[in-house]
């Protein structure tokens, strides 16, 4: 190899720090765009609920002033750049350690931030969801900041019990699911904000409200739904793969270890959400709370369980 492992590991750290810096700039650009839109938000005609299912995918957001559009485009370009830097950081980290780069908490968070960024950019290429940008970037920035400050672990070999291809599969699925759930959670949160404003009913949305600058509830709901039904089977698969791995290394596929328990709680909340979405009277706002509960459980599993609760998974290593 041209570079030795130490150099690669340092290179990886440099890329991650650069990603943080660029994400911070992206956040500024997006925030400025959002602020500009709030200040100038024109009246918005909300979709009437009866029309929601029938109308085409209308995203009747008042066109932002061109300076705002420029800021948004800058924000997106910076996000793409930061995403690529994050990707580079993950890849070099894997090369430095000579294995898949998700063997400890630090690496999980790097890859999860990557997955969330990828999910956001993937959605952005299909739908006008730039209003999410500021939130996704904020979350990713927070995660990366936590990773380099609290969770940092030097690159190294895996402890033997983690040295299994089920690790590769299980953790990769969990991370991908988590990244997409993040987009779902942001869309759901914005949906709730926007919904409140629309229900206050004034067809004339008050000028200067953040909610008025958001996409319609219909768009937000569709993005959330797409994210959830994409992420949910991936999460299901992650849980199953985890059980197979547990069977492989401990002789039982399910032991109610805290990590397993919270994966289960996450899954059940999202199942409740999908049911609520199909239940008359629960669709929309009420169902959204279940999705947010699921995301909260996912986050708790990621941070709370690793940091505060001991269990067999605690060798995940902080």
């Amino acid at each position: 190899m041209i570079f030795d492992e130490q150099t690669l590991a340092q290179f990886s750290n440099g890329l991650v720090y650069s990603a943080i810096a660029v994400y911070a700039l992206a956040l500024l650009a997006y925030a400025a765009e959002a602020a500009g839109q709030v200040a100038s938000a024109a009246p918005v005609v909300p979709d009437s609920p009866a029309h929601n299912r029938l109308a085409g995918a209308g995203t009747m957001v008042a066109a932002p002033p061109s300076s705002g559009r420029l800021l948004g485009a800058v924000g997106t370009s910076l996000t793409v750049l930061a995403f690529l830097l994050n990707l580079g950081g993950v890849v070099t980290r894997g090369l430095a350690a000579g294995r898949v780069p998700w063997g400890n908490m630090y690496e999980f968070v790097l890859v999860c931030a990557l997955a969330a960024g990828a999910a956001y950019l993937a959605f952005l290429s299909r739908r006008p969801v730039r209003a999410f940008g500021v939130w996704i970037v904020a979350i990713v920035l927070l995660a990366l900041g936590l990773a380099v400050t609290v969770l940092y672990t030097p690159a190294g070999q895996l402890v033997p019990v983690l040295d299994s291809y089920w690790l590769v599969i299980h953790v990769a699925a969990a991370i991908t699911g988590g990244g997409v759930f993040t987009v779902g959670a942001v869309a759901t949160g914005l949906f709730l904000v926007r919904h409140r404003q629309e229900r206050r009913g004034t067809v004339q949305a008050p000028k200067g409200r953040y909610a008025a600058s958001l996409p319609t509830t219909r768009t937000l709901e569709q993005v959330a739904h797409t994210a959830h039904i994409f992420a949910f089977p991936i999460w299901t698969f992650a849980v199953i793969a985890g059980a197979i791995w547990a069977e492989n290394s401990w002789g039982r596929y399910w032991g109610w270890d805290p990590k397993e328990t919270w994966a289960f709680i996450t899954w059940v909340f999202y199942a409740a959400h999908l049911h609520a979405q199909a239940t008359a009277g629960w669709r929309g706002v009420r169902a959204s709370w279940f999705a947010l509960a699921g995301y909260a459980a996912f986050l708790f599993n990621f941070f709370g369980v690793n940091l505060w609760i001991t269990g067999l998974h605690s060798y995940a290593g902080v």
Partner: protein, 496 residues
């Protein structure tokens, strides 16, 4: 469905306390509940009464998932019947007002109605629709697989429960620690811990025996993660039934599997080899003694018992450090491997309390009837390197540190429901994915004589799921129908 939502939310909430309070029969720390009860003597009995230390086996937890499965069955079986009926019957007729549906298109054409109908029907059939035609209408439906997936998914939950129950009713779990050179035969009496299920056939465990030939561990000796283990390998010579003796290397994630009884390597530690002589200078104990690892550098604690010693029984208690060093807070271990192994021991004489029949842990001393050996009024203690001997004052006995061997912890599991569970999980995953990906939808085309001559064609779709139908489906149909050889459209709506 409302019941399902509530019960699912309840199930999620009910699972939470089990991750916050220590649980019985949850593998990580067998003493966790006992320790918790000692630290919280007030609340612990109440928590126990509420089942908080046994959440996943408690009646209220079971009540929630049983109710959930019952309501699921009650919900899904009628749904399967309806699905069966709808598969066998025709797609329903078009609603009166197609303009209210999704992707509505209409235009006027001079084309021949029969030809338009035939073209549309052929186009849709090629794309996997079930199609029914009449002289002025085409009805089409697609995506029945979604319902099949949904049913398979829900019903697989019942099968999953059967598989889990199999393990919980017939299987068992056990643990045993074996020192290098030591043997184990799969018999109840040889386990350190054994958790049977209701119907475990404890007298007919799989006939297997093995000897731990050696146990190989290596650690990183440089770099940022110095001291992190890189390899555990237990070489076993084993015999299954009346078969030949065979050897196998058991590593993490690579168990020994004999007819579904599996032996997993789950831990390890050191077993200092000692020889104890009593006051008469006769050997009353010799061999490895298991010491319990306390930290990642394998500082370990343990006791050595010599009940045969005369005139009084002897016992030793203390620590083993594989790479010993002495810091400001006393001796500790610097590295998990044996670079400078030392034993730090104190001694006791008297009655070990082994004869009263109460089982004792091999890692603790019952000190009720023991007195600590003292010299000059202070407890007698000594640090020993390999080869050194500790001589108790007044000729009460000696202990020689002969060497160090390792022990391996094995987790032994038998779970006959595992295959059923696995199959159920696969069906669950495939069914779920199918039901979420496939979009069940209907599509209608209606022809009507137009007021100003020609035929008015109307097309619209309807999604039976929460997702929109594929956006190009209707456009493609319109394109097929408006291709030049049929007709040119007049007055065409653009899709919204």
């Amino acid at each position: 469905m409302r019941t399902a939502v509530m019960l699912l939310a309840l199930l999620a909430l009910a699972a939470i306390p089990g991750s916050l309070f220590p649980q019985r029969n949850v593998a990580s720390d067998p003493a966790a509940v006992i320790n918790y009860a000692q630290e919280n003597p007030r609340v612990a009995p109440w928590l126990d009464r509420l089942g908080m230390f046994d959440v996943y086996a408690s009646p209220w937890f079971a009540a929630i998932y049983v109710l959930l499965l019952v309501s699921m069955t009650g919900c899904v079986l009628p749904r399967s019947r309806r699905l069966w009926q709808s598969v066998r019957s025709a797609p329903p007729p078009a609603p009166r007002n197609l303009a209210r549906l999704e992707g509505h298109h209409s235009w006027t054409t001079s084309g021949e109605p029969a030809e338009i109908i035939a073209t549309a029907a052929a186009h849709l059939r090629r794309r996997g629709f079930r199609v029914l035609t009449s002289t002025d209408e085409v009805r089409a439906e697609r995506g029945y697989l979604r319902e099949v997936g949904n049913l398979a998914f829900h019903l697989s939950l019942l099968v999953l429960l059967v598989g889990i129950a199999g393990g919980k009713l017939i299987g068992f779990e056990g643990r045993v620690a074996v020192a290098e050179g030591g043997t184990f035969a799969n018999d109840l009496s040889q386990y350190d811990a054994f958790t049977p299920s209701a119907w475990t056939d404890v007298d007919n465990l799989e006939p297997v025996s093995f000897r731990l030939e050696d146990f190989d561990v290596s650690y990183q000796t440089s770099g940022p993660n110095t001291g992190q283990p890189t390899k555990f390998a237990a070489r076993l010579a084993y015999r299954a039934g009346n078969g030949e003796e065979q050897t196998i290397t058991v590593e993490p994630n690579h168990p020994l599997d004999v007819n579904e009884t599996k032996f997993f390597l789950t831990g390890n530690g050191y077993a200092p080899i000692v020889t104890v002589r009593d006051g008469r200078d006769s050997v009353v104990f010799t061999g490895p003694v298991l010491f319990l690892p306390l930290d990642t550098d394998n500082a370990s604690e343990g006791v050595i018992k010599a009940p045969d010693a005369q005139p009084a029984q002897l016992a030793f208690e203390g620590f083993f450090f594989p790479t010993a060093d002495v810091g400001p807070q006393g001796p500790y271990s610097m590295f998990p491997d044996t670079l400078n192994p030392q034993l730090f021991l104190t001694a006791f004489t008297g009655d070990l309390g082994l004869s009263d029949g109460v089982p004792q842990s091999v890692f603790t001393l019952d000190k009720d009837e023991l007195t600590q050996v003292r010299r000059d009024g202070r407890p007698f203690s000594q640090a020993l390197s390999v080869g050194e001997t500790m001589r108790l004052p007044d000729g009460q006995g000696t202990l020689t540190f002969d060497g160090v061997s390792r022990f391996a912890n094995f987790q032994i599991a038998y779970d006959p429901g595992k295959e059923i569970t696995l199959v159920a999980a696969i069906v669950l995953f495939v069914g779920l994915t199918t039901s979420l990906i496939v979009r069940r939808r209907r599509l209608w085309m209606r022809l009507r004589p137009s007021a100003d001559a020609g035929t008015m064609v109307e097309i619209a779709g309807y999604s039976l799921t929460r997702r929109e139908p594929p956006p190009n489906e209707i456009k493609n149909l319109v394109a097929a129908l408006t291709s030049p050889h049929l007709t040119t459209p007049v007055n065409k709506d653009t899709p919204r």
